[in-house]
Symmetry: C2
Subunit: 337 residues, 2 copies
């Protein structure tokens, strides 16, 4: 192909840095009380956010994050060319209903908890390809909407396994531009679906770890980079169990990430917050990136971050039909330029 | 922005025609018995397709369509750079589980029944932007999986309203290339979410018609084209009720589409097939385009087709919470070059 931007099997290098003009994060009370609480733009202490349902509350969080991201960049809807967004809900209603109030062409995504990086990856393609000047990306999740959809009504008080994770309540929004300086998208590695046959829906971290490892390894192979290229390599929501597994698998493959590897699901909660193996959900990597990593890139704390959002692509129906859990991980490089 | 390919508010013109190298359609028995039956590549008479569930059958139809599309173009998985796919199921499991066996970077989409055009639109962006040489797109739906997820178990025998539509059982797959001749993507208009406050889930055509009209009108405004530019303008699945409404709305806006406007949901079934207002589902526009319009473009029956896939972005949860139905329509121009 002419002027290919693809390198290797799954990676593409943008022809210029694509600056993240703003990034905003809205989270719930528990996330606000966690170690990163001070980094989030808005902490909503009411889980229903003044709405009549948790689903409407989640959608309102998306709208709130969009409003904050636009305000921070001093932009209006009319400045946006596209919106890419998704969430965990059936038919991604949190995103669809938020997009109803955003008069911008909308591409709905479903990548489970990989959605934020999936959206950033596609935003980069639209901007670098000359199809947009500014693209909005969003992702959200909500503990209560996820529990009742995927597992049990919380009122049942079902005991949770130690490997279980806690769905992050919140939303993230970011606006990416076509050129400029700041913290910018420079490269993306698109994930393939990986299914190692794991069927335990109470251990998503172990199910997703091989997908994260596959994408990270391919990123190094495709780019010729070593782990040391990055100040931070952060998976989305493997949690403590999946993170340890990913570290082992990467070490076995000859990649030493002991210095710079972390996981958004491990970072967002303290162990004493009763979240078992850590955080999960689309908002996990979305809010941690938008709140924590983005500000650290702007301040100069880090110069190069590889965000690897991880998603488990199952449904209660597939699980009940005895299927294993297909997983995916999308990676984006964000660098201070 | 430099070298913008965007024209007007929502449309982009590709810098060169992007040929659809192959398109394949797999449908169920009822679709095979319809007026377009002879145009589909594969008619699966067993609704469960030899699998243990309808959901697995739908996923197998996606795989089958992919296999056919690759075979027709004499391509292998290794020739593909990306796959874009989606369906109606919760967490798009038909697509995710099909993608598990496709070793190609995967972007999952949710655009309800607009998915096929959404995927074509994004495929065009990746190819024109220099990110891919060949991109696979898929979309699927299944009467039985949709009925039990969205409405009632079919065993209940609930009476259907005259405005109700029949979800098409089937899958479509197409491979788009970066340059060449044939039937090619030339232009796309990305849809915004439109919600006119309609709440009747048994009349999706009326809910979706305003979104279709908005995208069609914007396409004409952005490109400066009149309806006469096209040999065929086909909405995805408005059915007979929504189609009549769209015709009226377009006529009121000064656009005469009486010569060349049709709807895939009207075309795919005969009125005596007991489908009430017509077909619907992601496979409706996907299979009708891949089976019927694509072959007509190749044979020279038509030279210019505007496919406007339409989606209703609701879920049973949003409906039960009293919400109206947000809708979207994505349009792509496919021309013989």
């Amino acid at each position: 192909m002419a002027q290919s931007k693809k390198v290797g099997q799954q990676t593409f290098l943008f022809s210029r840095p694509l600056p993240i003009l703003s990034a905003a994060s809205v989270v719930g009370k528990k996330e606000g009380e966690g170690p990163l609480g001070g980094y989030f733009d808005q902490v909503v202490t009411d889980p229903i956010f003044g709405e009549k349902s948790w689903e409407k509350a989640e959608s309102k969080m998306v709208q709130s994050a969009i409003g904050l991201a636009l305000k921070k960049a001093n932009l209006a809807y009319g400045d946006l060319d596209f919106m890419f967004g998704g969430d965990l809900l059936n038919q991604i209603i949190a995103s669809n209903f938020a997009a109803r109030d955003v008069p911008v062409p909308f591409y709905g995504l479903f990548g489970a908890c990989s959605t934020f990086a999936e959206a950033l990856s596609l935003a980069g393609i639209t901007l670098d390809g000359g199809f947009a000047a500014r693209t909005l990306v969003t992702a959200s999740s909500h503990y209560q909407t996820a529990e009742r959809q995927y597992r049990f009504p919380t009122e049942l008080g079902v005991q949770r396994k130690p490997t279980a994770q806690w769905t992050v309540t919140g939303a993230a929004a970011a606006v990416i531009g076509e050129s400029g300086s700041g913290a910018a998208l420079t490269c993306a590695t698109a994930g393939k679906v990986v299914d190692m046959g794991i069927k335990d829906v109470n251990d998503m971290g172990s199910a997703m770890a091989p997908a994260a490892v596959a994408t990270i390894k391919q990123h190094f192979v495709d780019t010729g980079r070593s782990p040391d290229y990055y100040d931070v390599i952060a998976t989305g929501d493997l949690g403590s169990v999946g993170k340890a597994l990913a570290e082992d698998m990467l070490a076995e493959a000859g990649y030493d990430l002991s210095r710079n590897y972390t996981d958004c699901g491990v970072l967002i909660f303290r162990p004493d917050q009763d979240v078992h193996a850590g955080g999960s959900g689309c908002a996990c990597s979305g809010a941690v990136f938008s709140g924590y990593f983005y500000s650290g890139l702007l301040s100069g704390k880090w110069r190069k971050v590889l965000l690897v959002s991880t998603g488990a692509l199952l449904s209660p129906t597939s699980y009940q039909q005895g299927e294993s859990i297909p997983c995916i991980a999308h990676a984006v490089s964000v660098e201070k330029v």
